[in-house]
């Protein structure tokens, strides 16, 4: 890698400045509100900010170290998300071979296909070949009890946590003339818009939230939060157009698509979680539940963003 894109430094200084503001605010809030009823909310805020620091540090290292490290990082993310998904899903001992193959064959394969730029196989490896192979491995164990449910659950987990998430780092292999070597910035755009939209929806929901979108599925999601958070995320997206191949208007539209897809992802994964009888996917990240609790929006937003960018901007 020859030199660091100055836009990287600008972006990361911006992120660090925002997090610093968050940490300082959290510190003073926790001192002022100690012993009052708001203490738990502030503690939750501080835990979130702390977890963000860690995530941003990991991202910074990955971006600076290049494509291989970024792919490894996302492969590990998929690994932890799939582990959380399968842990909550009541698979049987008879599913062991299918589950082990999903982890040890399809995660490395999917990210290796990005590494060697084999886009056509990347697109079908899991939806076609894992889809056909995993039930074969399960059927060989000879247990027919709940066979369809068991097979479907493993395939769902693999699609969401590996196939969908892998579309985020797959941005690294798109070639857009005039924007060579900037792919990591588009990945930054995707992740930033997704995560800020989550945060802004949370903030707008806390401040103005009245009408719940789906009270049974996700009581914290409100129309006010969605609209306020979505609008501010679209503005942030437009403001970041200079790191993308998009015009400001296109960047805002892309951000809106990301927000809408991310919102749907959050809802769907929340419904899955509830149908499995859990509140959080795991306990990995302090203040954030599991890894999949942070990635739920990405699972839906990444494939859409990847395809739209590929379709409209790659000649």
């Amino acid at each position: 890698m020859t030199g660091i894109d100055p836009r990287f430094l600008l972006l990361f200084s911006g992120v660090v400045a925002i997090l610093l503001a968050g940490s300082v605010a959290g510190f003073f809030l926790s001192r002022r509100l100690a012993g009052t009823g708001s203490e738990a909310t502030v503690r939750n805020l501080n835990d979130r900010v702390k977890a963000w620091w860690v995530m941003v540090a990991i991202f910074a290292v990955a971006f600076l170290a290049g494509e291989a490290i970024t792919l490894v990082l996302f492969a590990l993310t998929s690994f932890y998300c799939l582990r959380e998904f399968i842990t909550l899903t009541p698979t049987r001992p008879a599913d062991h071979r299918a589950v082990a193959t999903a982890f040890y064959i399809f995660i490395p394969l999917q990210y290796w296909l990005i590494w060697i730029d084999w886009l056509s196989v990347f697109t079908i490896a899991i939806p076609v070949y894992a889809f056909l192979l995993l039930p074969v491995l399960a059927v060989l164990a000879g247990e027919t009890d709940h066979f369809l449910q068991r097979t479907a659950k493993i395939q769902w987990g693999l699609m969401l946590t590996v196939y969908c998430i892998s579309h985020a780092p797959a941005l690294l292999i798109l070639e857009i003339p005039g924007h060579e070597g900037e792919n990591a910035l588009w990945l930054f755009f995707l992740i930033t818009v997704v995560q800020l939209s989550d945060v802004m929806q949370y903030v707008f929901g806390k401040l103005f939230g009245r009408r719940k979108v789906a009270p049974k599925v996700s009581p914290a999601k409100t129309w006010e939060g969605l609209i306020g958070g979505g609008a501010s995320a679209a503005l942030i997206g437009a403001g970041l157009y200079w790191i993308t191949p998009f015009s400001p208007l296109q960047a805002a539209a892309m951000a809106l698509v990301i927000v809408a897809a991310g919102f749907c992802g959050g809802l769907v994964l929340s419904a899955i979680k509830r149908s499995l009888g859990a509140k959080d996917w795991g306990t990995m990240i302090e203040g954030h539940g599991g890894a999949l609790d942070r990635m739920d929006s990405v699972t839906f937003a990444a494939p859409l963003f990847f395809h739209l960018t590929n379709y409209f901007f790659v000649p």
């Binding site: 399968i86 842990t87 698979t91 001992p93 062991h96 071979r97 982890f103 040890y104 795991g282």
Partner: protein, 203 residues
């Protein structure tokens, strides 16, 4: 060498199956204890060992079957030098297969014991063998802590070659005591129920 291997084994365990302890009915303590748990996988020994805090891990010996853990040089090394196991011979009908276990207890060590004697196929444990009763009557001061190992029979079932990454936890319950003149069968049933109680609602 064995120290490096110990760290590697711990790191691998955390990465693949987690293996964290949840202290529900008791707290980590230096008191001499027998941790007894359900047995569904060869990983049980490692996960329960990994779930203990470092200080307790050093003074606790898993009781393991010599026919499996003594089977190859690598397993033998892991069992004896890394996990500090007490190996017992469950195949040959010696006078008292528990003799090495009694020795370890007499030295003041804590133990990890799988009273089913063999791995089951089900999530819930099968009937307990009398080893736990015999040890409890000979060493009445040792605390008997029930442990439920969750998910291990899914992560590494009988006959599998590789453990699948599924988070496994060890849930520690409240210690039980043997009654003054409690019958063997009644005590073993009560001990088994103490493990089952930690399993949580059936899925």
């Amino acid at each position: 060498m064995s120290q490096a291997f110990k760290l590697l084994l711990l790191a691998l365990t955390r990465f693949i199956v987690g293996g964290h302890g949840r202290w529900l009915g008791s707290q980590p303590s230096l008191a001499q204890r027998i941790y007894f748990a359900n047995h569904g996988s060869h990983l049980d020994t490692i996960v329960l060992w990994a779930a203990l805090p470092e200080g307790l891990r050093r003074r606790t010996s898993p009781v393991a079957a010599a026919d499996y853990w003594g089977g190859t040089p690598l397993r033998r090394f892991v069992a004896l030098d890394v996990l500090n196991c007490v190996l017992i011979d469950r195949l040959r009908g010696e006078a008292d297969p528990l003799a090495p276990v009694r020795e370890a207890l007499a030295e003041g060590r804590s133990l990890i014991l799988f009273p089913e004697g063999t791995r089951g196929h089900e999530a819930l444990p099968g009937p307990f063998k009398s080893g736990l009763y015999n040890l409890a009557t000979s060493f009445p001061d040792v605390e008997l802590v029930p442990v439920f190992l969750d998910n291990l029979s899914r992560a590494f079932p009988k006959g599998a070659y590789l453990p699948a990454p599924i988070s496994c936890t060890a849930r520690f319950g409240a210690p039980i005591r043997i009654g003054a003149d409690e019958e063997r069968a009644a005590f073993l049933e009560r001990a088994r129920d103490a493990v089952i109680d930690l399993a949580g609602p059936p899925q």
